[in-house]
Amino acid sequence: MTYEWLVRIITNYWPMFIRGAGVTLLISIIGTIIGAIIGLLIGVIRTIPMPERGPKRVFLKFVNFLLSAYIEFFRGTPMIVQAMVIFYGSALVFNVYMDRILAAIFIVSINTGAYMAEIVRGGIISIDKGQFEAAQAIGMNHPQTMLNVVLPQVIRNILPATGNEFVINIKDTSVLNVISVTELFFQTKSIAGNNYRYFEAFFVASIIYFVMTFTVTRILRYIERRLDGPDSYIMIDNQMQVERPEDALRKKGQN
């Protein structure tokens, strides 16, 4: 009976499911965050205004070339293949035996970073040129402009796309079972194999995956609304009239 098996699998194996879901969440959260940071950094570097001449221009061109190569390579190859190459390659060629979880986080991070770099670049391009000019006009340099004016707006704008990446990561960590990371898919496969009950075990896994992705989507929507701020603003009346500009000036004179 399918239903009985479902109950039995859940009652007997729920710690394994939870552990697997935990590892999946851990890898995808850290991977998405590191990937987003990589993406932001690359986005900022790739939008540095190109000097007209000099060694700085050559250096910047070279850095941009390396970054493009990174983005193109990791976007253009499947993560499952990257996992095999990096994990087994480092062990067999360089004699570096990576911790499986760390390797998984590394692979997800650089993969996400490649996608996020393009998302961030799109986000920066979409910011009105006037915002850059206004920041420059009050004397901000490129990093100051980015940190105080552009990136806060970019982060708000790319949040939906980042949420997409996050959801994709939760699902795609399942391919890391090829390097025996004990994430949800790997655990489910073990459970199913123990009992020859593939349908029941993977049905439970599918529910867990859905709950994780759905929760993450809701949380991100909430953050988006928080970042948008309230629709209305509070007019300052009484408080401000207590301190008139003259008071402010007098206070300044005392300092």
Binding site: D128, G130, Q131, E133, A134, A135, Q136, A137, I138, G139, M140, N141, Q144, N148, V149, P152, Q153, R156, G229, S232, Y233, I234, M235, I236, D237, M240, E243, R244, P245, A248, L249, K251, K252
Partner: protein, 246 residues
């Protein structure tokens, strides 16, 4: 009086298109100079060259006698000495009105938050926007945005204020409130360089009017001369065209 800004043989080309040709002029301390001229005459480009939003192709820009086009001149420090007001306001969308005026002071001038907020409030009061310090730019009308933008520029306590067609993007009924603020600033002795299409305003507030045509300064002089008794034929034609429309 000394020249705050002196421009010598300035030129600017975009590709083969020569927008500014051999511009020579200067702004003295405390002077209010209006630049008028038809669209495409290079007025805005000249203003944008002065604070290096556009890199001039040739010539010199002297600020208090120093050539700021010199490679080793700190252009970031120089820009803090010039306040810029844009046609499209360009308020920082991620900051509220107060924070728009504070962020530059803190990050660029290194002022403390308390000091920066005090200065910002002082100037928001000057432009009559102190009630709206919590409002985000998208919640403000065009005229209100432009007044906050003026306060933002003033908060950096610049030597010279540059206005790039500050009322051109505004609805007609909001032009007045911005011009009123600018008039008050002009009377307070601030050095101002204003690109404008508001002829009445230019006539009233400026100490000197510069008329530009096809990338050159065609005529410059006191407003009485330019508006009542222009020496050049093209100035006369331009004014006739503009004033007839109104």
């Amino acid at each position: 009086m000394e020249n705050v800004i002196e421009i010598q043989h300035l030129s600017k080309s975009f590709g083969a298109n020569e927008v500014l040709k051999d511009i020579n002029f200067s702004v003295k301390k405390g002077e209010v100079v209006c630049i008028i001229g038809s669209s495409g005459s290079g007025k805005s480009t000249l203003l944008r060259c002065i604070n290096l939003l556009e890199r001039p192709s040739g010539g010199k820009i002297l600020y208090n006698g120093e050539n700021i086009l010199d490679e080793k001149h700190d252009i970031f420090k120089y820009r803090t000495k010039l306040g810029m007001v844009f046609q499209q306001f360009n308020l920082f969308e991620n900051h509220n009105a107060l924070s728009n005026c504070v962020v530059g002071q803190m990050k660029v001038l290194g002022r403390s938050r308390e000091e920066a907020e005090e200065v910002a409030l002082k100037f928001l009061k000057v432009v009559g926007m102190e009630q709206y310090i919590n409002a985000r730019p998208k919640q403000l009308s065009g005229g209100q945005k432009q007044r906050v933008a003026i306060a933002r520029a003033l908060s950096m306590e610049p030597d010279v204020m540059l206005f790039d067609e500050p009322t051109s993007a505004l609805d007609p009924e909001m032009v007045g409130e911005v011009l009123k603020v600018m008039k008050e600033l002009a009377q307070s002795g601030l050095t101002m360089l204003i690109v404008t299409h508001e002829m009445g305003f230019a006539k009233e507030v400026s100490d000197r009017v510069v008329f530009m045509d096809k990338g050159v300064i065609a005529e410059e002089g006191p407003p009485e001369q330019i508006f009542n008794n222009p020496k050049e034929e093209r100035t006369r034609e331009f004014l006739k065209r503009v004033l007839n429309q109104m």
